[in-house]
């Protein structure tokens, strides 16, 4: 069941998606964290962030919008107060990082690389909620590559670059960060969306727009994973609307070496464990010894 992502060996290919599993402790009652492939923690910035004013979430058909605005305790508090909890477990911890400038990205990366118990970095170049002049780093191949290079320069840890789907050609961005040294790419982050309260004629989210996640976006995510997997040699981590083991296997067949479970945790806190068990059964039933043998086996 084990897979390797940029030198990091995971027990199994199932991780939690950033922002949907808190710092691990929130789900510790529901999930034996030791069983997870990896825990990707909520996005960390250099300083603590207050986040966006509420309302921050809204339900949609087969999904939800969120505009949390990257509320987080900041990298220092994370290392001091949250990491020790995670170190109790035998599970890979991947720190999702965010910056408002390439400098900030590299500073966060540096701090985390010196902390004990962080096994990889996932660089969020895609968050659509926090505006930075114009579009996000992740929508421009050059900017995405630049962030990648800066982070790589500060860390010995495997660097996963997490891509945004709100672009014309996601595979081009993936290629660009691969060339810049990314050890893996993960995709997709949320699609930017919106919902309006008819009674008040205001947006349902105070931030106006938010990120769409959940099964509604799965077809788009799967398509992008398939496109990217054909264009890069580094591992691809599939994310987007995965609710069941069948969904997870679809992503792996499309070319993902591992998957992340996001919104599904909210709907079914046991989702990750059920998916891990499900993959195990699938491999047994189909007499597949090595999980890597199903990756990218789509017949077209």
């Amino acid at each position: 069941m084990s897979v390797e992502i940029g030198g990091l060996k995971l027990k199994n290919p199932v991780m939690t998606a950033s922002g949907t599993f808190g710092y691990g402790e929130e789900y510790a009652d529901y999930v034996d964290l030791n069983q997870l492939g990896a825990i990707v923690v909520k996005g960390l910035s250099l300083k603590p962030r207050l986040g966006n004013p509420p309302p921050r979430i809204m339900e949609t058909a087969g999904g939800m919008l969120n505009a949390v605005g990257l509320q987080n305790v900041g990298v220092d508090v994370f290392i001091k107060e949250k990491l020790p909890f995670l170190r109790q477990y035998d599970v890979a911890v991947i720190a999702n990082i965010y910056g408002e400038s390439t400098l900030e990205y590299s500073q966060v990366a540096k701090k985390l690389s010196q902390a004990e118990g962080v096994h990889a970095l996932e660089v969020n170049v895609s968050c659509p909620n926090v505006k930075k002049g114009g579009l996000s780093f992740g929508s421009d191949p050059k900017a995405a590559a630049e962030v990648t290079r800066r982070v790589k320069a500060e860390t010995h840890l495997p660097v996963i670059v997490k891509l945004t789907p709100n672009v014309t050609d996601i595979a081009a961005i993936a290629q660009s960060v691969e060339e810049a040294g990314a050890d893996a790419v993960s995709l997709i982050n949320t699609l930017t969306g919106m919902a309006i309260d008819l009674k008040t004629r205001t947006p349902h989210l105070k931030n106006i727009t938010g990120g769409l996640s959940g099964p509604a976006i799965k077809p788009v995510a799967l398509r992008m994973v398939w496109q990217v997997a054909q264009r890069v040699a580094i591992p691809v981590i599939g994310i987007g609307g995965i609710m069941t083991v069948e969904d997870a296997l679809e992503f792996m067949i499309a070319g993902a070496k591992a998957v992340q479970i996001g919104t599904a945790n909210f709907i079914n806190p046991h989702a990750t464990i059920e998916i891990i068990d499900g993959i195990r059964h699938y491999l047994q039933n189909n007499k597949i010894k090595n999980i890597n043998d199903i990756v990218g086996t789509l017949r077209t």
Binding site: G19, T20, F21, G22, E26, Y27, D29, Y30, K42, L50, G51, P53, P54, P55, R56, I57, M58, E59, T60, A61, G62, G63, M64, N66, V68, Q71, G214, P215, M243, T263, N265, F266, I267, N268, P269, H270
Partner: protein
């Protein structure tokens, strides 16, 4: 206080008043005994429309020999509650909980005042029960102000009468009890309760809580249970926040599900 997700079975689901339902759900006995103010996230297993689970306060809890049961008192306001209302005895529901923190019942105060608006009675009723079980409190020391728009929206009265002898009911239209807003009814009596001897427990619509906040003017100890749209219910998504003053008095966003749903009224920052 371990929480988990359980398959519950609907043991009863009755429309006790128009649009108000009382559902009894049988759960495995390892469902942790809930504290007053705690809630559950409920959904129909496998059904993704509506997509998110719905938070509902725990209205009662009973322990049987081989299982336990909770009651939920809810009002049909949209798709999710409509689907709940359609469940028949024997249906299965997915219940995650018990979630959130609880009202604190350790204050040694002489007067205990409850202020409930509409469906806000649900957690306060469980709280009143818990207090009654505590030797140090008597039903006589507790005063309950219960408000609703009309008589049709006053629910849970009979059960409450057994818990609480001082009970003031008010409706906006006077169709039951006083014709007054519940906060006004309380305000008329406020002199009876000295701030140092009183704890106030409140739950109700935002407008009620906000008006209560004005009336109390920071002088009373008041614990209030809040509602926000929720996704995870366990503190992971940081979606259900309210603005409160943190330890240093600075604004911070706290999660209703994990840091609440019960907050000190004084801490809440109103827009």
């Amino acid at each position: 206080m371990a929480k988990d997700i359980y398959i519950g079975e609907v043991a009863a689901n009755e429309e006790i008043q128009i649009d108000y339902f009382l559902m009894k759900v049988t759960l495995p006995s390892d469902f942790t005994e809930p504290l007053p103010g705690q809630f559950v996230m409920i959904r129909i297993a496998g059904l993704h429309d509506p997509f998110l689970s719905r938070p509902i306060s725990i209205y009662s809890y009973t322990r049987g020999k081989s299982n336990c049961a909770i009651e939920l008192l809810y009002r049909v306001v949209g798709k999710g509650t409509q689907i709940l209302a359609g469940l028949i005895k024997g249906s299965q529901v997915e219940i995650s909980g018990p979630l959130g923190g609880s009202y604190s019942i350790d204050h040694q105060k002489k007067n205990i005042v409850f202020i409930a608006g509409g469906i806000g009675i649900a957690p306060l009723s469980l709280l009143a029960e818990a207090l009654c079980r505590k030797a140090s409190y008597s039903a006589a020391a507790m005063t309950f102000y219960l408000g609703a728009q009309t008589a049709d929206a006053v629910v849970g009265l009979n059960r409450l009468r057994k818990l609480c002898y001082n009970l003031t009911v008010c409706t906006d239209d006077g169709s039951l009890g006083q014709k007054a807003l519940v906060t006004k009814a309380f305000q008329k009596d406020i002199k009876k309760y000295s701030p140092s001897d009183t704890v106030i427990y409140a739950c109700g619509p935002k407008a009620m809580v906000q008006s209560l906040s004005k009336i109390l003017d920071g002088k009373y100890l008041c614990q209030v249970s809040l509602e926000e749209r929720m996704a995870c219910g366990v503190g992971a998504c940081v979606g259900c926040v309210v603005a409160v003053k943190d330890g240093q008095g600075k604004p911070a966003y706290k999660r209703v599900c994990a840091d609440g749903p019960v907050f000190d009224l004084q801490q809440i920052i109103w827009e």
